[in-house]
């Protein structure tokens, strides 16, 4: 057993349980016919998974950089495949983010999804299992298995419960990500053949030749850049977001995009450190382009979902920038920013879903001047939007601030390039907020002049969903160490690994 593997027990194989609970729930849901029962089942399973994941937070040893809660079993000894799962500081926060967001996804589709509820729940639970699996796998084949396993459920989620152009969007999503995954598969094959092992801890200890590293880096980068999505491979995202149901958008923005960032950290930086150092400038340029172009595109959108989708491109640009600064501070801020983006963009998509349920439109023009009608809603929406563009006191501020500081540390021009991104973010978010709350058709315009609209403010369930997310927005904003403490040791060891790698 390699020293980086820590078989620290908390009495039961917590990671396998986390993967299997949603799977078992999906199996159970196949036999539940009535729609309300299957909804409650989904809530119970996702909450149970959330509960089961809490020991990861409490028992995680924050001083160790290696993998913890490791389970190791033989799977295919004939080809040196093993079933290995474990988490380090980077993946543990992403697992927690997944288990936190999934119950909210179930709750936010309570009224939206009325057809084929049973299948919806099955697909959602399968997705949760696959997402957790991606973050905990320490075997590259197992990783790929979950990585691809997530594709079909999400494809179905868009194709079956999506909007009018769902066929186009779902096929585009599938083909884009599948094409990306094929590159990943090739990289994994080469890693496997070169090292004779599929286990990530073992691969981390084997020095690979520079040429091989470069090949692995390029292949992995294509795969993860599609997933992240990094400019110029982002075009599937707006289409998929606009057509996806709310839960699909939340998962897509909240968790799925993080798989890209996670992949960069785990594969590119981990297995190809020398190549990463060589290629980092290119990646940083792409990231800056994503920040600026994503922001500018968001500025011009009329469709709210499309707006948030493009803002995701910009935010993930910050994440990629932070990762490829290759400094410990930048990477740590990136991991934090991934969590922030998951929470705040997830919250924004949930808000848009709530609006859509009432007005049946996502266009800014159809959703204007709601401040007087839905005071509770606009209050929470404002908080989420502020967090999204990084208002001080919210989580978004900490993440973006740290990334920009790290960029300035690296080279002033990088920092200077990223700062306009923050300004644009404030511009598009405030523009949208202003329209939604007040609208400015005439200086003394009053909502009563328009025909009365019959819909109510958000109810208890909806307030509850948003309050959970707002709680984390403020908590991380004021006390970022809840996340940073978990990630510090692992990120520092990864940064040292990259710094120590030479040609």
């Amino acid at each position: 057993m390699t020293p980086s593997l820590l078989l620290q027990g908390i009495g039961y194989p917590v990671l396998s349980v986390l993967v299997c609970l949603p799977l078992a729930g999906a199996g159970l849901a196949l036999f539940v016919r009535s729609a309300p029962a299957v909804r409650w089942l989904a809530v119970a399973v996702t909450l149970l998974t959330l509960g089961a994941s809490l020991p990861l937070y409490s028992s995680f040893d924050r001083t160790l950089p290696g993998f913890q809660f490791v389970e190791h079993r033989a799977w295919l000894p004939a080809a040196q495949f093993d079933y290995i799962v474990g988490v380090d500081g980077i993946s543990v926060v992403l697992v927690l983010l997944t288990t936190l967001l999934m119950p909210l996804c179930v709750l936010c589709s309570w009224r939206e999804v009325q057809e084929r509820v049973q299948e919806f729940v099955v697909v959602l639970l399968l997705l949760e299992a696959a997402l957790i699996g991606v973050f905990v796998s320490l075997n590259i084949v197992l990783f790929y298995l979950f990585w691809e396993g997530m594709l079909i459920p999400l494809y179905l989620l868009i194709a079956l419960w999506g909007g009018p152009a769902r066929n186009y969007a779902s096929v585009k999503f599938f083909l884009y990500t599948f094409a990306g995954s094929i590159f990943l598969l090739f990289a994994l094959l080469m890693l496997y053949v070169a090292a004779g092992s599929c286990s990530m801890p073992e691969l981390l200890q084997q020095p690979l030749s520079y040429e091989l590293q470069m090949l692995v880096f390029i292949c992995c980068t294509v795969a993860f850049a599609v997933k992240t999505p990094l400019y110029p491979l982002h075009t599937w995202l707006p289409a998929a977001h606009v057509e996806a149901p709310t839960a699909g958008s939340v998962i897509l923005a909240g968790i799925l995009l993080k798989m890209g960032g996670y992949g960069f950290l785990r594969f590119c930086l981990g297995f190809a450190p020398a190549a990463t150092r060589e290629a980092a400038p290119v990646m940083m340029v792409c990231a800056l382009a994503a920040i600026l172009i994503g922001g500018l595109l968001a500025l011009g959108q009329q469709d709210l979902k499309r707006l948030v989708a493009y803002s995701s491109v910009a935010h993930m640009g910050f994440v990629v920038l932070g990762i490829f600064l290759l400094s410990s501070r930048g990477m740590q801020a990136s991991v934090l920013q991934m969590i922030n983006h998951g929470i705040s963009t997830g919250a924004l998509f949930i808000c848009i879903g709530m609006l859509y349920e009432r007005t049946h439109s996502r266009l800014l023009a159809d959703n204007s001047a709601l401040g007087a009608l839905m005071p509770r809603f606009v209050t929470l929406l404002t908080l989420c939007a502020f967090s999204s563009f990084g208002f001080p006191g919210t989580n978004g501020f900490i993440g973006e601030f740290l990334i920009i500081v790290a960029a300035f540390e690296k080279k002033w021009i990088l920092g200077a390039g990223a700062v306009p991104g923050v300004l644009i973010a404030a511009a598009y978010m405030l523009r949208a907020l202003q329209k939604i709350i007040w609208a400015d058709r005439s200086p003394h315009h009053h909502p009563r002049e328009t025909p009365p609209r019959m819909f109510s403010d958000i109810g208890l369930r909806e307030v509850g969903i948003l309050l959970v997310l707002v709680f984390f927005i403020i908590l991380i904003g004021l006390q970022p160490s809840v996340v940073l403490d978990l990630t510090r040791a692992s990120v520092e060891s990864l940064a040292n690994r990259v710094a120590g790698a030479g040609r």
């Binding site: 799977w75 295919l76 495949f81 691809e148 194709a159 083909l175 598969l185 090739f186 094959l189 053949v193």
Partner: protein
């Protein structure tokens, strides 16, 4: 001692039974029961003979673990195909006894093919299999149409041409080595291949007959037309069983030539690349599902050759593993077609629309089988492809694997089309597809087999690995 060839004996006896049954007047149902029992008996015999090895008929007939392994695969494939297409509604009424007679004879030929290590016996057993399958193709219930006959003629002509080329190539091999025994050939062949271009030509031409069965480019042209013309049941047999036997033979010949035969490797990797690319690109535009599956079969022949060229422990065992998966996945697709077409008519992608409402189980079977063929985890299609390509990479065939991987990406599109059609919404009432109980069980078994074998490959590898050393010297 003759118990070593128990599966062959079972098939021979069954063929005799059906021969006499063809004279008498047995009911269709009885004949089908008998056929299924015969297949099951052959499967049991093959399982019993699995770890029994030996030589028969003065070294002409070698029963090593490899041949027994493939025999098991052929017998299991036959049982599966018969189970999937239980009832044989698409075959011509009144010819049940003949249909089963030729099916058993064909499988007898395949079993002989995988066990023989002498060229003339090989040709004879290949022809036994071929002629039986030639006769199956026109036996379709939709007699009024032109396609079954056309398909039958095409299959015979192409097959005959391939056999002629094989014999021509064999004359070269015999002229160069003065032997028809594969063991002796294996001793002199590696040296000859390195020095004598004629040996490469001879060997490549000789494998024409095998490539025909495998539907490898450029001998794949028969496949789409024959599939469209033949009944679903027949097409399912042709897509799976001869392919398995052909893989065994090609493995034997590639192993005899040795992995160092660069010219031969070049020829076969070119064929593999063309096969994959042309198969996948042709499949993209197909509307008829059988035609689509035919082209997907051509592409799969290419993937299998990539794995075979690795000629190492991982590559060979992965080829056998993937092949068994391919049989199950293809049978799964044909099962859906068969159940959807009560009159045995051909099904287009358009006909699949709304399948999930007509029968959720059929839609799920199709989705799992198609995802398997596309190579999406956690199916056997993914695990098998991964291991095959890993084997090829161990030999440093980077470009070959890269092309194969790109091809998988192209292929995903048309497999996805099937799944999407099956799950697309339709408005209004739809008529449900009623499945008999055994068909429901069959669908569940197919889904479970495709998923479980992909997730737990170790069980199969334990069985397959003993067969590999017979090929590696």
């Amino acid at each position: 001692m003759f118990l070593l060839i128990l599966p062959e004996l079972v098939f021979g006896t069954a063929a005799l039974f059906f021969f006499f049954a063809a004279i008498g007047k047995l009911r269709r149902r009885v004949l089908q029961r008998a056929g299924f029992i015969a297949a099951l008996a052959a499967l049991c015999a093959a399982a019993w003979a699995y770890d029994r090895t030996g030589m028969l008929f003065h070294g002409v007939y070698t029963l090593d673990t490899l041949s027994q392994c493939f025999k098991l695969l052929v017998c299991a494939g036959l049982v599966l195909v018969m189970w999937c297409t239980a009832g044989f509604r698409g075959t011509r009424e009144g010819f049940s006894a003949e249909y089963h007679l030729f099916l058993c004879l064909g499988c007898l030929g395949l079993c002989c093919m995988v066990s023989t290590t002498e060229l003339i016996t090989l040709i004879i057993s290949m022809e036994v299999a071929s002629y039986s399958f030639y006769a199956l193709v026109p036996l379709r219930s939709r007699r009024a149409e032109r396609e079954p006959l056309e398909a039958g003629i095409k299959y015979v002509f192409f097959g005959g041409a391939a056999t002629a080329v094989t014999l021509y190539g064999m004359s070269y091999l015999f002229g160069l080595t003065q032997t028809t025994s594969l063991q002796k050939l294996a001793q002199s062949l590696p040296a000859l291949l390195a020095t004598e271009p004629l040996a490469v030509i001879g060997l490549v031409l000789f494998t024409a007959g095998i490539c025909y069965k495998l539907a490898l480019f450029p001998l794949h042209y028969w496949m789409p037309d024959v599939f469209v013309g033949a009944a679903h049941e027949t097409a399912c047999v042709l897509a799976t069983l001869p392919k398995a036997a052909a893989v065994c033979l090609l493995l034997r010949f590639l192993a005899a030539a040795g992995a160092e035969a660069h010219r031969l490797v070049l020829v076969f990797s070119t064929l593999a690349v063309l096969s994959m690319t042309i198969g996948n690109l042709s499949a993209l535009g197909q509307q008829d599902i059988k035609r689509l599956l035919a082209y997907s079969g051509v592409a799969h022949a290419g993937y299998l050759v990539v794995g075979m060229l690795a000629l190492n422990r991982l590559g060979i065992s992965a080829v056998i593993y993937y092949l068994s998966g391919y049989v199950v996945m293809t049978a799964g697709c044909f099962y859906v077609l068969y159940r959807l077409a009560p009159q045995g008519e051909n099904i287009t992608v358009e006909d699949l629309r709304g399948l999930y409402r007509r029968s959720p189980l059929l839609a799920a079977t199709l989705a799992v089988a198609a995802s398997g063929l596309a190579g999406i985890p956690p199916t056997i299609g993914f695990t098998g492809k991964f291991l095959m390509f890993a084997g090829a990479l161990q030999r440093e065939y980077y470009a070959l694997v890269a092309i194969a991987v790109v091809n998988i990406c192209i292929a995903a599109f048309y497999y996805l089309r099937l799944v999407r059609a099956a799950y697309s919404s339709v408005s209004g009432q739809v008529e449900r597809v009623l499945l008999p109980r055994h068909a429901t069980v069959c669908a569940a078994a197919l889904i479970a087999a495709i998923l479980l074998s992909g997730m737990l490959p170790q069980f199969f590898f334990e069985k397959i690995l003993p067969a590999v050393p017979t090929l590696l010297r």
